[in-house]
């Protein structure tokens, strides 16, 4: 019993800040209708329940599958199998990700169907597939992470020189979108499953992280290539919101259930197939373990559905209203500050962040504390949201004004910061942009853009995820440098 109570308490404390801030905003700067507030509170409660169930599910279901899969792939000791597994897993995990499809259809919309949704989705998935395979090869052939990242981001830089501003934003967003709440724990477990076998304890710890970071570069490159081939595709049509027609509070939530169930099922499918494949493998999982994993998958499914329904029905509209309300007050500073605070509290409730920080504690035997990583991550994300608000409020600031120096700093830091933190940092980039940021903060940005003259709702909102994926990389690597200095033995 205590097990459940403690998890609920932990999650409740994670969701509390965002609820408190939103209610505070309601009484100070924007007054919201009670209808929205009631929905928001119900949404928050659903998130607490959903996130708790989801985390149990990941722990006993998704992570074990990932771990076994990683060990299984390496133990075959066949290079073609490793590459094939990376390609197949990468492609299907990514193509099953709902967030990527949403991004694709938004791009199709603003490009007046010159760039089809399908081409974005496929390009990102192929990219992820190729780079997941490369990432796996990196682990088993002991190539250093900073070197490989330098090469990959070098390629990104070259391509982006020829790319339009809009496509740059879309491609960085795609990398955040492909690593959703379901795939992050799986890929993390996959890499720990492999690196746990390593003889050198230090490199085993280091290589547990970084795979998500490497794989996300694939999505960037994939989408950039699409942008280069479809010439003259100026993006910029009026956006169109689809709002639920339901008028009752309950209706808002119930309306979303069928589509959410479908989304979650599809994104769980690749992992489920892995599990079935493992059952065919030469080593059998014990019956108890099979039962445990089946329950884990059920929990993951149930938790994710509850969570997503809560976020989409409870948080989306209120986020947009707040964004619109704050931006209408004609104070650029206020918009930036509120963005900063919302970024700070939203990330605390992000599911993948939980999984990553727990994984860090497990791998380092608790030496790197969860809370420290969490706050560093939150600080990074809040800066990203603040930058995005600045971009909306002040015309003329381009996305690459942030991205170029940001990634240069990231790469330089990767040679200074301890390896473990480099891996964690680049993984965190993909982790930070999950369902909470992708809905609530994005809706907030869109609302704000709507209220500001000369800001394009969709175009300015593109690129938010890109920034959210970038700042944690810098923040966590700086934390790494600080750790390095602090843990030097004193008085010896």
């Amino acid at each position: 019993m205590r097990l459940i109570v403690e998890k609920l308490k932990e999650v409740f404390l994670a969701v509390l800040p965002i609820a408190a801030i939103v209610l505070l905003l309601n009484f100070t700067f924007v007054s919201l209708s009670w209808f929205l507030i009631v929905r928001f509170v119900i949404g928050a409660l659903l998130i607490v329940a959903g996130l708790s169930i989801f985390l149990f599910g990941v722990n006993i279901g998704i992570s074990p599958i990932g771990n076994f899969m990683g060990t299984f792939i390496v133990k075959t000791n066949k290079i073609w199998f490793l590459i094939a597994a990376g390609l197949v897993l990468g492609f299907f995990i990514s193509i099953a990700e709902p967030a990527l499809h949403i991004l694709g259809s938004q791009v199709e919309l603003v490009s007046s169907a010159r760039v089809s949704s399908g081409s974005i989705v496929v390009a990102a998935s192929v990219g992820i597939a190729a780079f997941l395979a490369l990432g796996l090869l990196r682990i088993v052939y002991d190539v250093s992470l900073p070197k490989i990242l330098t090469v990959f981001y070098g390629i990104v830089l070259v391509f982006s020189l020829f790319s339009s501003n809009e496509f740059l934003a879309v491609s960085f967003d795609a990398s955040g979108a492909t690593t959703g709440a379901m795939t992050v724990p799986f890929i993390l477990a996959l890499s720990t499953g492999i690196s746990a076998l390593k003889k050198n304890g230090k490199s085993s710890e280091n290589d547990s992280f970084g795979l998500i970071g490497v794989a996300s570069v694939g999505a960037i490159i994939g989408v950039l290539l699409i942008g280069l081939t479809s010439t003259g595709s100026a993006l910029g049509a009026a956006p169109d919101y689809h709002t639920s027609g339901a008028t009752s509070i309950l209706g808002h939530f119930l309306d979303l259930v069928p589509s959410t169930v479908e989304e979650v099922l599809v994104s769980l499918l690749p992992i489920l197939l892995c599990f079935l494949l493992l059952q065919l493998a030469p080593f059998r999982l014990s019956r108890r373990l099979v039962k445990q994993i089946v329950f884990g998958l059920l929990f993951t499914f149930l938790g994710m559905v509850i969570l997503l329904v809560g976020v989409n029905a409870g948080f989306m509209d209120i986020g947009r209203e707040i964004g619109y309300g704050i931006a209408s007050r004609d104070s650029k500073a206020l918009l930036v500050i509120v963005g900063f605070v919302l970024g700070l509290v939203t990330i605390l409730a992000e599911p993948s962040v939980y999984v990553l920080t727990h994984q860090i504690e497990d791998v380092t035997s608790g030496a790197v504390k969860r809370r420290i990583v969490l706050f560093t991550l939150a600080a990074g994300v809040s800066l990203a949201v603040a930058f995005s608000m600045l971009r909306i409020a002040v015309a003329g600031i381009q996305l690459w004004h942030f991205l170029l120096p940001g990634y240069i700093i990231s790469i330089v830091l990767s040679f200074i910061s301890p390896r473990l933190f480099v891996g964690i940092a680049f993984d965190a980039g993909g982790v930070a942009s999950g369902p909470m940021t992708g809905t609530f903060v994005l809706a907030f940005a869109q609302g704000a853009a709507q209220a500001v003259d000369g800001a394009n709702v969709l175009l300015d909102a593109f690129g938010l995820i890109a920034l959210v994926a970038m700042t944690p990389i810098i923040a966590l690597q700086i934390l790494g440098v600080m750790y390095k200095i602090k843990t030097r033995k004193r008085g010896v």
């Binding site: 205590r2 149990f56 006993i60 390496v74 682990i139 390593k198 445990q292 035997s365 608790g366």
Partner: protein, 222 residues
Amino acid sequence: MTTFENQSAYRLIYVIVNFGRGSEVLRVTRESRISGGTILLGRGTVRSGFLNFFALYELRKEIVLIVADSVTAEKALEALNKEMQFEKPNHGIAFATAIETVDGSSELEDSVLAEERGDEKKMYNLITVIVDKGRAEKVIDAATEEGSKGGTIVNARGSGIHERSKLFAMEIEPEKEIVLIVAKRDKTQKIIAKIREDLQIDDPGKGIVFTQTVNDAYGLLD
């Protein structure tokens, strides 16, 4: 190096608590003149029909290892027991085993050692089992059948002479699990026999089992 041939004057204290409380243990023991300790992550068994039905079997634990001379160890354990309230269910356990030699801790070598006390109630044994990853649950099941109240699992790596050592370019050490079980003296032999039987420990490459005598124990509720 400080060595004691017959009477071991040093203790290795094990404190097993819920995740996150390991640092608290170190803080408390520091007040009892103990200079440091090492924290490992482990998994403990959950005994609840309700939770087990939902396939929730494990809880994250921290294991704190502390080396001290026997007098200090005893004081530290008492202080810990007072602070952490081991007598209550789910508050963790603490026990000490005798060790032979200590190196590397200047404080320990300098400290004045007291004589071994005559009558210590040595009621418990610590059974340590090292098996391949994934088999720890089986060890605990076997031990529970013979009357053990649970156990703690620690992830580990290691390799015997029976295992392959290289995959691709990486040298590997296969994953292992260490199971720590504290058992009453009269049950120890039965538990070990059952583990040896269920896990075929006596076959090559199947793992090892050893026992140590526990000097002081707190929090064991039987």
